[in-house]
């Protein structure tokens, strides 16, 4: 079974304790989460999580179903890289005097289409957005110059499809709930 990096998006109600419940499901199947980010999405009240993990599709589909079983989870989607547009951001902290002493550094920043976020007397922060291998490539280059700090965000993604699939789901659910409420009134 082919193991590769998959992206999982989870839409949920904003609920205390859901993070641990969800992460335990990955743990139980021995899947290590590579990155995770959660934030409110374009629909008010709905939280969107983006998780990446190296695993195989069959196992991940089962995990997705298990996650969807959690009461407050609305919907779970599993994506291959070609189904999504994705991006990560990385920050690199170097000593400011490097910019003056090492002519390579400026060239490296330019070649990697990175940008300088902030310059302080002691340190400078470089920002690079891109795919993992791109932020990694810059990391490999800067590593030679006494890199002070390095941090990489989790993935953010949008789907190749025009709309977020969750929209239809919510319309459907609201219709279901209205029907139940009408029937009981």
């Amino acid at each position: 079974m082919e193991t590769k990096l998959y992206t999982i998006t989870i839409f949920s109600e904003n609920s205390v304790g859901l993070l641990s419940r969800v992460s335990l499901i990955f743990t139980r199947r021995g899947i290590n989460i590579e990155s995770i980010s959660a934030s409110s999405c374009s629909i008010p009240g709905v939280t969107k999580w983006i998780i990446t993990a190296f695993t195989n599709r069959e196992l991940l589909d089962q995990v997705a179903k298990q996650v969807e079983r959690c009461i407050e989870v609305l919907k779970v989607f599993v994506y291959d890289d070609d189904e999504i547009i994705y991006q990560e951001v990385a920050l690199y902290k170097i000593e400011t005097n490097l910019l003056f002493e090492e002519p390579h550094v400026e060239r490296i920043i330019r070649e990697h289409s990175a940008r300088i976020l902030e310059i302080k007397r002691d340190f400078t922060v470089i920002e690079k957005t891109g795919h993992y291998r791109e932020t990694e490539a810059l990391f490999e280059e800067l590593k030679r110059f006494n890199l002070k700090q390095f941090v990489r965000s989790g993935r953010v993604i949008v789907t190749q499809s025009p709309n977020e699939y969750i929209t239809d789901y919510l319309v459907e659910q609201n219709r279901r709930i209205n029907k139940i409420n009408d029937a009981t009134e």
Partner: protein, 573 residues
């Protein structure tokens, strides 16, 4: 005018009453004392059973829930009170039992300080519940209770936990209660797709060797009638899982027995030959399937379950149908045509005859030797009323009871199937009897399992709970002993038990007892046990080397089935 400004503790009790609760299993303690104080005013509406250990409370609630179909309610205190119910939660999650546990919790200000009797119950129970939530404010209580009951009892039922901080119990709030009717992120009622039903009907028409396997989901969905209708209309053989026992009467000609590790030769062999298996409300777990890669090699498998996450989880299906069991059978019965496969049906009967001769008769009609578990169980089944409930503990007692009891009424079998919790039996039987006071409840339990929750004899005494306890006493942890004899060179590591005088123990609790060691005394002993509706302990001395057969060794295929220690049955040869 009624005073609606009440404490969280009182709101909790009023909410329970609104949800139709009249029975609670529980144990008081420091962080739940406010609820118990209020309960003092509500004893006319809420019957509280004071157990002897919190594990007893939750297993009793499980027995109650599974006999009544209504959620079992448990109230415990914080810390150890709550951690003591975790085994029961895990058990109820595996066996899909609606349970609402209310646990006390330290006051909000103390959370996370390792306060006295503080345990992070919500975190600890995440993987053992369908839903768990902490409540820190009194006004959250009614809605949380409503949600808890809705979640516990709908869809695939399961246990939920409400962890209520002390200040939420004590604080005041304006009471109102509305039942939960729907949750946006949780749809427990899948819709049947008519095309799926047409397709299954079509598959049945062309199948030469079809078989239905009915699981616990059939019982939970109250689909016993519609299952029978489909089976009879289509003339399709039916097998059940362990927890599917009693979904079809034992003496029904289409009931071909139980599948799984200690199942019957007929349906287990049939799984190798069947060309169509319709599995409804079961998980196809390892005890049912044996070797996942060798299961049902010739069959198209149609899997029907109310839990979509179970579909294509353990085995690959030809057709997965996300539906309620009763909806499925009702829809199918309108489309189904009678099948005519006399040779296929006859195969079950041939194997059944072989099993009867080789395995069953030597147990039921032995010429000599010590009592067998199977003969004690069958004698009880024959003497008990037809609607008696068979409750088991876990181990050989469970497998023998499953195989040798007779089921004539719905919801007659109650056992810890998924988790296999020793100690489940006695409290579960207690709860079953409270839930079904008009039915005879027969508990089959081993000497090991009985001692895991034996303190509940105190509860049985206090509330006069008329449970018939049949102790299958072989002075061994019999099931492990069997594996040691078969697979570990008879090295009986830590399985012999030095036992107390169980009759004396029961008598100390004022429970009438009997003892039987000789075959010729068995009938009289059982008659004495069943002569009234009070609790009774029958101590039956079983041979210590008793083994349960047939047996399919763990993780192996059904092509080789042990029918005795030295004899195998090969279905395909």
């Amino acid at each position: 005018m009624e005073n609606n400004h009440i404490s969280g503790a009182e709101a909790l009790l009023k909410s329970l009453i609104c949800e139709g609760v009249d029975t609670i299993f529980g144990y008081p303690g420091g962080q739940i004392i406010s609820v118990y104080d209020k309960l003092y005013d509500y004893t006319d509406q809420l019957h509280h059973i004071l157990v002897r250990h919190e594990q007893g409370a939750i297993h009793a609630a499980q027995g109650y829930a599974r006999t009544t179909g209504r959620p079992g309610v448990v109230i415990v205190t914080s810390g150890p009170g709550a951690t003591n119910v975790i085994t029961g939660l895990a058990d109820a999650l595996m066996d899909n039992t609606p349970i609402v546990v209310i646990s006390g919790q330290v006051a909000s200000d103390f959370l996370g300080t390792d306060a006295f009797q503080e345990a992070d119950v919500v975190a600890m129970t995440q993987q053992a519940t369908k839903w768990a939530i902490q409540i820190r404010r009194p006004e959250e209580i009614p809605a949380a209770v409503a949600r808890a009951f809705y979640i516990a009892s709908t869809g695939r039922p399961g246990p939920v936990v409400l962890d209520i901080a002390k200040d939420a119990q004590v604080g005041m709030m304006d009471w109102s209660h509305e039942r939960c009717r729907a949750i946006r992120s949780y749809d427990p009622c899948p819709k049947i797709n008519p095309q799926d039903i047409d397709e299954v009907a079509q598959l049945l028409e062309t199948a030469k060797k079809p078989m239905i396997i009915a699981g616990h989901g059939v019982m939970i969905a109250n689909a016993e009638k519609s299952l029978l209708e489909v089976a009879e209309k289509g003339n399709i053989p039916v097998a059940t899982t362990l927890l599917g026992l009693s979904t079809i009467p034992s003496d029904h000609p289409l009931n071909k027995g139980m599948v799984g590790m200690h199942g019957n030769l007929g349906p287990n062999s049939a799984s190798l030959e069947a060309d169509l298996i319709i599995g409804v409300g079961l998980r196809f777990d390892d005890r049912v399937v044996g070797d996942f890669n060798a299961y049902a090699p010739n069959a198209r498998i149609v899997h029907v379950d109310i839990e979509s996450a179970e579909l294509n989880r353990n085995i690959k299906t030809f057709k997965a149908i996300h539906a309620d069991a009763d909806d499925f059978f009702k829809a199918l019965s309108e489309k189904i045509k009678p099948t005519n496969n006399p040779e296929w049906l006859a195969k079950f009967d041939t194997r059944d005859k072989f099993e009867t001769e080789k395995v069953i008769n030597p147990i039921l009609k032995p010429a000599e030797g010590p009592l067998h578990m199977g003969e004690v169980i069958r004698a009880v089944a024959d003497a008990a009323p037809k609607n008696a409930i068979c409750v088991t503990d876990v181990g050989q007692n469970q497998m023998f009871a499953a195989r040798y009891f007779r089921y004539h009424a719905d919801k007659s079998f109650l056992s810890s199937g998924g988790l296999g919790t020793m100690g489940f039996g006695l409290p579960a039987a207690m709860g079953a009897k409270i839930g079904a006071p008009d039915r005879t409840v027969c508990l089959f339990v081993g000497d090991g399992g009985l001692q895991m929750t034996i303190q509940e004899l105190g509860t049985i005494m206090a509330y006069n709970i008329g449970v018939k306890i049949i102790l299958l006493n072989n002075d061994y942890l019999g099931n492990v002993r069997q594996w040691q004899e078969l697979f570990f060179n008879s090295r009986f590591s830590q399985t012999p038990l030095v036992n107390p005088d169980f009759n004396k123990i029961a008598e100390a609790y004022g429970i009438r007892t009997g003892k039987v060691t000789r075959r010729e005394d068995l009938a009289d002993a059982i008659a004495d046990m069943l002569s009234d509706d009070k609790a009774y302990l029958l101590n039956a001395a079983i041979g210590s080397d008793e083994m349960i057969f047939p047996m399919i060794a763990a993780g192996t295929s059904y092509e080789k089935i042990m029918i005795s220690k030295n004899e195998n049955y090969f279905p395909l040869k």
